[in-house]
Assembly symmetry: C2
Homo-oligomer: 377 residues x 2
C-alpha cells in the first residue's frame, strides 16, 4: 500500500475531525462486540470458527478474530491468502475452486509457509488440479462443495457432491477432507425462513459427510457459514466449522435481514458535505468509489449513521446525494460538515479503501492497511 | 502500486493467455479509435478538449489524450490531481467543489507544480475557500457551476449561477474565470432527446457566460461535457471546452444509450471459468471486486464480449455467474477457459484494478498502473 498523499507532511490525526475525507472508520467497540458475539455462536455450538477475511482484508481484524478463538481464516482468492500468509497467518481455507496452472503454481508456493485447503466443485476442475499437483509431488487438502442456494459454485445436489467426492478421493494430488456448504438466506428477512435455510445448510452438509463416510471417504471437515445463517447452521450436530465473515462489521444489508441492528454497524465511511445548492439536497464527497456500487436494488447507497431515515439516493463516482423526503426534518448540515455513512455492504466498501481507520469514539487509535484490497486473483 | 504477487518470479506475459485472471485489458486499437473520434468532435467544433481522467486514471491514456490535442485534463478529486501532477501533467481542472482546510492546503501545495482551477457551486463553499486561499496570499481560478440535470453539485438554476458568480467575483483568493455545466443524458436512449439535452447543456452554459459578461465578470471558460451529450453540446456557439471521459473506453452503459457500439468497448475484464456444475450455468472468477458493483438496475454486471447475448446475472464479491436463458446456444466453455467481459461501467471497473494491461489483439503490449485508483480524497 503506497503512502496516502493527503497526509503528506501532516502530523498524525488524533481525532476523526483531523482526517481528510472520504475515509473508512471502524468503531473498535462495535467491532469487538460483533467479534465476541459470533465467536460465542461458534463456541456455544462446539464448532470451530474460521471467519471469512474477505470482509475486512486486514491483519488487525484477523488477529482479533484469532484472539476470539478462531482456528484459522477463510479467504476467497489466493491473492488474499498470499497477503495474509505474509502477515503471519498460516492456516487458511481458500473457499474457491482453484483453476489453472498459474493459480496452482501459486498455491504450491504458499504451501511452503502455510497449511491450506481449497474447494473443488466439478470433476473437470478437480482432475486438472490433481494432474498439476500430483505432477509437483504434492497432495493438498480439498473439500467438495454443495451449491446451497447462492447459485454460484458448488455441485448441484447433495447426491452430486457425494458422487464428486468418490471421484475426487481417487485422484492423486488431492486429499479429500470434507464438505463445504453455503446457505443463502439473503432473499428473506423472515426469521423462520432464515432459520430453516440455516438448518438446511447444516443438515445437507452433515448428510453429505455421512454418505461420504459410508463410502469409506474422509469427511473430517463439515464447514458451513454465512452471517445470516450462522446461528442456525452451527446447531446441527455434525457441523464442525463456521465461516461467517461480514458479522465483523455488519452493514445495511445485514440490518435489512435482521438480526443485526444499526448500532452493530462498525464500519462507516466519513464524508464531507460539499454542496447544498438546493434546500432539500446535500451532496457528500463519497460516491461509489468510496462506498462501493452495490445498491441491492434499493436505489440507495448508504445511510447517515446519525440520520438513518435519510439515504444516499444517487451515487456517482465521487458524489453521494442525500435528498430530504417530504416531511423529513432538515439535518441542517453545513458545507464542510462531516457525515458518517453506513454502507450497504461492508465487504464491498472496505475493499474500496487502502486503509481502515480504527476509532474509539472520535479518537483515532490505529490505521490498518487493507492488505487484501484488490487481491482478487 | 505495489507489485502484484501473482506475477512474482514469472517471466513477463507476452500474450493474454499468460496472464492470471481476473485482469483488466485495454484494446489499444479500440482505445485509439475512441480517442480519435472524441478529439475530432471537439476539433470540428473548434472547442478545446480537457478529457476527464477519472475513467482511466492512468498516465498512459492521459498522454494519448494530449497527443490527440487535449489541452489538459479534468479530474474529480484532488487525489487524482496529485498523482497526475506527479506523472507530469500540469494543467488540470478539478471539477468538484473543494471544501475544507485539508483539501485547500493540498491545493495550495499543488499550485507550485501545476495550473489548476476548481468548481464552486455554493456561496458558503466559495466563501470558505476564499478565506483560506486569501489568507495564504493565493488567488486560484474557479468556475461557477450549474446543475444541468445530474442532481448532484451545481447551483439550481442559471439565474442562481449568475448570482453566485457576482458574489464569487468579489471574493479575494478566487479568480472567477467562467462557468461549468454537466448535462445528464443518462436517462434516455432516444437520440433526439439526447441531442436536446446536449444542446440545452451548451446553451445554458453560454447564456450564463453572456449574463456574467454583461455584469462585467470574466467568463473565458465555458466548459461542458459528458460522453453522451458531447457531440451536441460542443456545437453551441460560445462553448469553449469539452470534458468527456468514458468515451476513452466506452462500456455497456454507453452502448445502452447509443451511439457507442459493442465494438467500441476497449476495456474488458478477462475472467476464467471456474465452475460449471449445472449445464446452464458458468461461474467466472470475476465478481464485483473485479467488475465493480454498479448494475444500473439492470440486474446484470457485464456481458461476454464474444457472446453479448449472455450476461452475468449474479455477481457476488468474487463470483460472476452466467446462466443461459431458455433457447440460448451453449457457449460450451470448459473449466479453465478465459472469457472477456465488457463491464457495465468502465470507470468503475478500471477503478477496481491496480493495473490495466494494454493489448494488441492477444499480444500484451504494456502494463499501466492505475495511479488514480482509490484517490477519492
Amino acid at each position: 500500500v503506497t503512502a496516502r498523499r493527503s497526509d503528506a507532511g501532516r502530523p498524525p490525526a488524533r481525532f476523526i475531525g483531523d482526517l481528510d475525507t472520504p475515509v473508512a472508520l471502524v468503531d473498535l467497540a462495535r467491532l469487538e462486540s460483533n467479534l465476541g458475539a459470533m465467536a460465542a455462536v461458534a463456541r456455544d455450538a462446539g464448532v470451530a470458527h474460521r471467519p471469512h477475511a474477505k470482509t475486512h482484508k486486514t491483519r488487525e481484524v484477523a488477529e482479533r478474530q484469532l484472539a476470539h478463538g478462531a482456528i484459522g481464516l477463510t479467504v476467497a482468492k489466493l491473492g488474499e491468502a498470499e497477503v495474509l500468509v505474509d502477515a503471519g497467518f498460516d492456516d487458511l481455507f481458500v473457499a474457491y475452486p482453484l483453476v489453472g496452472p498459474l493459480k496452482l503454481e501459486r498455491l504450491v508456493a504458499l504451501l511452503e509457509r502455510a497449511r491450506l485447503r481449497f474447494e473443488v466443485d466439478t470433476l473437470d476442475g478437480a482432475t486438472a488440479a490433481s494432474t498439476f499437483l500430483a505432477g509437483q509431488g504434492r497432495r493438498v487438502d480439498v473439500v467438495v462443495s454443495l451449491d446451497g442456494g447462492a447459485g454460484r459454485s458448488g455441485a448441484a445436489s447433495p447426491e452430486a457432491v457425494v458422487d464428486l467426492a468418490e471421484r475426487v478421493a481417487e485422484l492423486p494430488g488431492l486429499e479429500l477432507v470434507g464438505v463445504m456448504n453455503y446457505g443463502n438466506a439473503y432473499g428473506t428477512s423472515d426469521p423462520e425462513t432464515q432459520a430453516s435455510i440455516g438448518r438446511r445448510e447444516g443438515e445437507d452438509a452433515v448428510a453429505i459427510a455421512a454418505a461420504m463416510r459410508a463410502r469409506g471417504l474422509r469427511a473430517d471437515v463439515v464447514t458451513v457459514g454465512s452471517t445470516p445463517t450462522a446461528r442456525h447452521a452451527v446447531k446441527v450436530p455434525g457441523v464442525t466449522e463456521l465461516r461467517a465473515g461480514v458479522y465483523a462489521f455488519q452493514d445495511l444489508k445485514q440490518v435489512s435481514l435482521g438480526p443485526a441492528t444499526l448500532d452493530d454497524c462498525a464500519l462507516t465511511v466519513m464524508a464531507t458535505v460539499v454542496s447544498h445548492a438546493r434546500p432539500d439536497r446535500y451532496v457528500l464527497d463519497a460516491g461509489i468509489k468510496a462506498l462501493a456500487g452495490e445498491d441491492y436494488g434499493w436505489g440507495t447507497w448508504g445511510r447517515p449513521q446519525a440520520r438513518p431515515d435519510l439515504a444516499i439516493i444517487r451515487a456517482t463516482e465521487e458524489h453521494g446525494v442525500i435528498e430530504l423526503p417530504p416531511g423529513a426534518a432538515d439535518p441542517g448540515w453545513r458545507i464542510g460538515e462531516r457525515v458518517r455513512i453506513i454502507p450497504n455492504h461492508a465487504c464491498g466498501a472496505a475493499n474500496m479503501h487502502d486503509e481502515l481507520v480504527a476509532v474509539d469514539g472520535e479518537r483515532v487509535v490505529e490505521r490498518w492497511p487493507v492488505i487484501g484490497r484488490g487481491r482478487f486473483r
